[in-house]
Symmetry: C2
Subunit: 142 residues, 2 copies
């Protein structure tokens, strides 16, 4: 139930037992891969049917995920041409987006601590992600 990414650990995975709906898991997972540069503009995603088979989910679920990513400006969907990654114009964030992000981090962290993850481990994971973001910034500027 996973599609390996070319060159880094994140993979597209769905968890049928999770509280998050599967189409949303696919959207979130693919968006992370798109933001991380796993696909370039012009690349084709697997067809809806292929992705549905790979993940073991209904093809309508994948189609809905693709449709939402098209709405977000990541994909061009055309009958017979499948899903093509397009160049997405830069967005301008609002204070609300920052609030949403802070809240999402806090809630994910609270869940991790509730699950029994060690405080030091959690702080380390956060710092590590911050570091990889800063590296991305350096990469963009050089």
């Amino acid at each position: 139930m996973t599609i390996p990414e070319q060159n880094s650990p994140p993979v597209l995975r769905v968890d049928l037992r999770a509280a998050t709906p599967v189409y949303r898991q696919i959207v979130d997972g693919l968006r992370a891969m798109l933001v991380g540069g796993a696909f370039q503009p012009g690349d084709k995603l697997p067809t809806v049917r292929q992705m549905a088979v790979d993940l073991g989910v209904h093809h309508n679920t994948v189609a809905e995920a693709y449709r939402l990513l098209e709405e977000e400006g990541w994909l061009d969907l055309r009958r017979r041409h499948g899903a093509t990654v397009i160049l997405r114009p830069p967005q301008s964030a609002s204070p609300r987006h920052q609030d949403d992000y802070t809240r999402a981090l806090r809630e994910a962290t609270a869940r991790a601590l509730a699950d029994g993850l060690d405080l030091e481990l959690v702080a380390g994971i956060l710092n590590q992600l911050a570091e990889s973001i800063k590296q991305q910034k350096k990469g963009t500027c050089s």
Copy 2:
């Protein structure tokens, strides 16, 4: 649609337009407040009906959220006695919990970057949260 927390910024808020189901938003928000120490064992949460009125949602939605928090070991729910916060035994995390946390952070961060949040701002928010976690650790040990 918010219930202010005693002494820190997080508040319980639901967003009816969000993709996350409302009962899940309530669970995640209350869990974050419980982990953050907003309630102590023995404290009573607002009744289901009161919370439903405050948040502007159906009381069944709040009841479902309370039921899930009871399952997670945070609450004691008794007819006529409402929801009482209980002492939750420490959990032992599995590698899967760590994976889930890393994935949740990556996906939330990808969404923030896709929304147009600045890389430096995102890294700063992550470091700040890591710092507050470390402070919590010091608080626990002293």
